[in-house]
C-alpha cells in the first residue's frame, strides 16, 4: 500500500475527454465497480485515476472476495436492480455462469491490443478481458534458506529436506490455490500432493497466508502469491520469490460489463481504462503484475513477456477443480 507518487504521475496520460463515449458517459456521471481483485484502497486509487482521465465521472468501487461479490451481484439481480456496472472476479467460471444467464455486455476495449500476447487471447470471445493476473510461485525465507539451496522448480518442493518446513494454501478456501492444484495435478499427477503431505506441510487458508507464515519463521519455503511477498520484501522482510523453471502459474482474472446497469457508457470507458497503461502502472507501483509490455514490472519481478507461464483453461478448471477439492480432503484431511 505504498503508491510511489513519481511513477504514478509519470504514467498519468492526457485526459480522455475526446473519446467518443465520453459525452454519454459524463451524462451518466458515475459507475459502480464490484471488484474481487486488489484491495479497497487500491480500487479507490484506480477509480481516482479514472476520474482524473475522464473528469466528471465518479467510480464507486466495492471490493470483496470474488465469491461475496458474485453473491451480492446475484442478490441485486434477484431484487431487479443491477447495482454493478462493471464486475471483476478472480474466477473465470463466474463469467461463464453470468453469460449463460445473458447478463454480460460483450465489449472489446481498443487498448486491449496492448496486453502481452499470453493475456490477449483471454477474452471469452469478446465477453471479458483480463484485469489482474494471480500468480503462484515458489517463495522462501532468505534468513533460513540460501538462494542456491532454494527449490527451483515445482518438483523440488517435494524434496524430503523440506519436511516440517513447507507451507501453502488450500483449494477449499482459495480459488487461486485451486487453480494451482489443477495445474500441478495435470503436470505431475496427484502423487505430487501425496508427496507434499509426507512433509507435514502447514496448510493455510489463502494464497497470501504463505508470506505471514514465512515471516514468522514457522516455515521456510512456500507456494504462494509473489505480489504480497514482494510488497513485504520491499519493506525489508526476508522474503524472496523464484519463478519455477518449468513455468509460473498465472491465472488471469476477468472483467466484464453487466447488462441492464445504469451507466453502460461509463462502464465501457472504465473497461478501456483497465486495459490501458495508467492502470497497469498502478498495478506495478503496488507490486502487482502489470499486464502490458510497455509497463515495467515491480522491483524483484519480471515482465509477463520474459517468464514462462502456464494456466489450465477455464474448461479444465471447471472439470477438475471439484474432484481436486475432494481428493484434497482425502489426502490432507482438511
Amino acid at each position: 500500500m505504498l503508491p510511489s507518487a513519481g511513477a504514478y504521475a509519470q504514467a498519468k496520460g492526457p485526459t480522455g475527454t475526446d473519446d467518443p463515449l465520453y459525452p454519454a458517459a459524463k451524462k451518466e456521471g458515475q459507475l459502480t465497480w464490484y471488484s474481487g481483485i486488489l484491495d479497497q484502497p487500491l480500487c479507490v486509487q484506480v477509480g481516482q485515476a479514472f476520474s482524473a482521465k475522464y473528469p466528471g465521472i465518479e467510480v464507486k468501487p466495492i471490493k470483496n472476495s470474488s465469491q461475496v461479490a458474485l453473491q451480492r451481484l446475484m442478490q441485486d439481480i434477484k431484487a431487479g436492480s443491477m447495482q454493478a456496472d462493471v464486475f471483476t472476479t478472480t474466477d473465470v467460471g463466474h463469467m461463464t455462469f453470468l453469460n449463460s444467464k445473458a447478463l454480460l455486455v460483450p465489449y472489446v476495449a481498443p487498448s486491449a491490443s496492448g496486453f502481452v500476447p499470453a493475456l490477449r487471447a483471454f477474452n471469452g470471445g469478446g465477453l471479458y478481458q483480463v484485469s489482474w493476473v494471480g500468480q503462484v510461485t515458489i517463495l522462501y525465507n532468505t534468513t533460513k534458506v540460501k538462494l542456491e539451496d532454494a527449490p527451483k522448480d515445482w518438483p523440488d518442493l517435494t524434496n524430503p529436506k523440506w519436511a516440517n518446513a513447507i507451507t501453502f494454501g488450500s483449494p477449499n478456501y482459495s480459488g487461486l490455490v485451486g487453480v494451482w492444484t489443477v495445474g500441478m495435478a495435470q503436470r505431475y499427477g496427484w502423487e505430487f500432493f501425496e508427496k507434499l503431505n509426507k512433509l507435514n506441510p502447514l496448510i493455510g487458508r489463502s494464497v497470501d497466508d504463505a508470506g505471514t507464515v514465512l515471516n514468522s519463521g514457522e516455515r521456510s519455503v512456500a507456494a504462494g502469491n509473489p505480489a504480497s511477498a514482494l510488497r513485504s520484501a520491499a519493506r525489508g522482510n526476508p522474503l524472496a520469490m523464484i519463478y519455477p523453471s518449468s513455468g509460473t502459474l498465472a491465472s488471469p482474472s476477468p472483467t466484464a460489463i453487466m447488462k441492464g446497469s445504469s451507466s453502460p457508457n461509463a462502464a465501457k470507458l472504465f473497461v478501456e481504462f483497465l486495459a490501458g497503461r495508467e492502470y497497469s502502472q498502478i498495478l506495478s507501483d503496488n507490486f502487482e503484475q502489470p499486464m502490458r509490455a510497455d509497463v515495467s514490472p515491480p522491483k524483484g519481478a519480471k515482465s509477463m513477456a520474459e517468464i514462462k507461464t502456464f494456466a489450465p483453461t477455464p474448461e479444465e478448471i471447471e472439470k477438475e477443480l471439484g474432484p481436486n477439492k475432494e481428493k484434497w480432503r482425502d489426502t490432507f484431511g482438511g
Binding site: 484502497p41 461475496v68 455462469f97 477449499n172 496448510i203 489463502s206 525489508g236 522482510n237
Partner: protein, 569 residues
Amino acid sequence: MARTGAARPRVLRRVEPSTVAWLAALAALLFLVAVPVAKVVISSFQDTDTGAFTWNNYAVAYGHVRDYASLGTSLLYAAEVTVASIIIAVPIAWGVARTDMPCKGLVRAFVLGAFITPPYLGAIGWILLAGPNAGWINKVWMAVTGDAHGFVNVYSFGGLVVVTALYAFPYIFVFTADALERVSSEMEEAARILGAGHLRTILRVTLPLVTPAILGGAIVVFLDTVALFGTPAIIALPARIKVMTLVLWQFFEFPVRAEAAAAYAVPLVLITVTLFAAQRAILGRRGYVALTGKGGSRTLLQLGRWRWAIFGYAMLMVALSVLLPYAALAHAAFSRAWGRGFSLANLTLDNFKYLLLTDPAARLTIVHSFGYSAATACLAVALALCVAYIVSRRLVRHTAVLTALCMAPLVIPGIVLAIGFYSAWAPPPLALYGTAALLVFGFTARFLPIAYTNCMASLRSLNPEMEEAVRILGGSQLRAVTRVVVPLLKTSLIGSWLLVFIPATRELSTAIFLVGSNTRVISVMMLDLSENGSFETLAALGFFLLGVTILIVLAGYKLLGRDFMLRRS
C-alpha cells in the same frame, strides 16, 4: 416470575402509552431480525436457480458423514471453550466485584482489551508464541532444556480451545461482574453469622445467586464459538481439525450455495432454542432476585494476603490473553520489516503514522467503525431492554418466539444473516445500498442476542415489586422502566453496551457483505491488510484498537464512579 402474571390483564384493561412503546419495539424486532431471519430460513428450502421448494439444500449441507463429524467437533469445541472461559472469567469477576483486590480498573481494562482483540490477531499472536518451530515460548524452552522440540503446540485441539477461550471469556466476565455487583452482602453476612467459612459462603451463596448471569454468558460464549471463523481459520485449518464454520465457508466457493449454508445454519437455531430451554430448566423456580427495593449494601471482602493471590490469577490470565501476544505482535507493529527480527535499526513508528496521519482513508475507516459500533450498541441495548422487559414481565403471550427471534442472529453465520439482511433491505423500497444505516442495522441484528441475554440476566435479578410500587402510585409502565429499571441497572446496561460495541468494532462476516464504497470499517480493512501482506500495519492497527479500548474503559469507570450500593465503612 410468579407475580408478573398479574401484569397482563392490567395491560388488556386499558391501553397505555407504554403499549405503543412495546409495539414499536416489536415492530423494530420484526424489521431488524424477523424479516432477515425468515429470509434465511425460507431460502434454505429454495432452489438456487428457480426458487422452487426443495429439501436439496439440506441434503447438500448434511449429505456427508464428514459434515456430521465436523458438527460434532464444533459442539465439543464450543463446550470446551465455554468451560475454559468460565474457569478464566468467574474468579476474576469475583475478585473485581466482591473483594479488595488491587488495581481493579487495570484488570478490567485488560479484560476488555482481550475482548477487542480481533480473533485473527490474537491467533497470530499465539502462533508467534507457541508455534512448534519458531514460537517464543518453545524457543525459550529449547534453549533452557536443550530439547530438540518445543513443549507447546498451538496447532492442536487444546491450543485451539485455549486461544479461543482467551478472547471469549470477557463475555462471561462482564455478565458475572455486573451481577455480582448487584448482589447485596446481607445474605453473605447471614451465612457468615451462621458459621459458614468464606469459601463455603462463596460457593453456596454468592455464586448461586449469579448463576443466571454465568449461564447467560456461557450461552453467548458457546454460540459465539460455534459460529466463530477467524480463530479456526488460523489454527484449526493447519492443525487439520475440521469445525463446522470451515465447512460452511466452502459453500461460498463457486458454485456458491448460499442456500445450503442457510440450511446448515437452521438446525443451529434449534440448538439455541434448546439451550434456552435448558437454561430455564436449570434455573427452575429458584429465586435469583438480588436487587430489591429495600436497599442493600455491599461490603468488599477483605482478603488480606490472599488479595494478591487473586490479583496474580487475574494478571496471569490477562498476560496470556493480552500482554504476551501483544508483546509478540509489538515486534511487528513497531518494525519496518517484522520478519527481520529485533534490531534498533528496524524500529519505527511509521506503521502508526501511516494509520493515523498519512492515509486519510484509514483514519476515516477508524472513525466509521467507532461511530457505527456506538450507534449499533445504543440501538441494540435499547431494543434488547424493551424486548427483555416484555418477555421477563410477560407483557405478551408466546414470549418463547421473541426469545428465539432475539437469539437466532448469533448462530446464523454472519455472512448468511447478512445475505438475508441485504436481500431484505438493500433494494427498494428502503434502498439502503451502500449506506451507513445498512451496516448499523445489520450489526444491531447481529449483536442483539448479546444485549438481550445480558438484559434478561439483569432483569431476573430485579424484583418487580419496585416497578409495581410505581404503578400503584399512579406512574405509567414507561415511567417504571425509565425511572426505576434503567437507573437500577445502569452499570449492567453499560456492560451490555460494551458487550455490543466491542464485537461490533471487529465484526467481519456481516460487514463484508453490507459494506459500501464509502462505508468501509476496520474489520474489512484488516482483511485487506492481511491479504496484501502488510502485517506490520495490521499489528499496529490492533495496538491502536487495544489502546483506545483501554482508555475508553478507564475513562468510563472514572466518570461513572463507584456504584451506588457500595458503602465503605
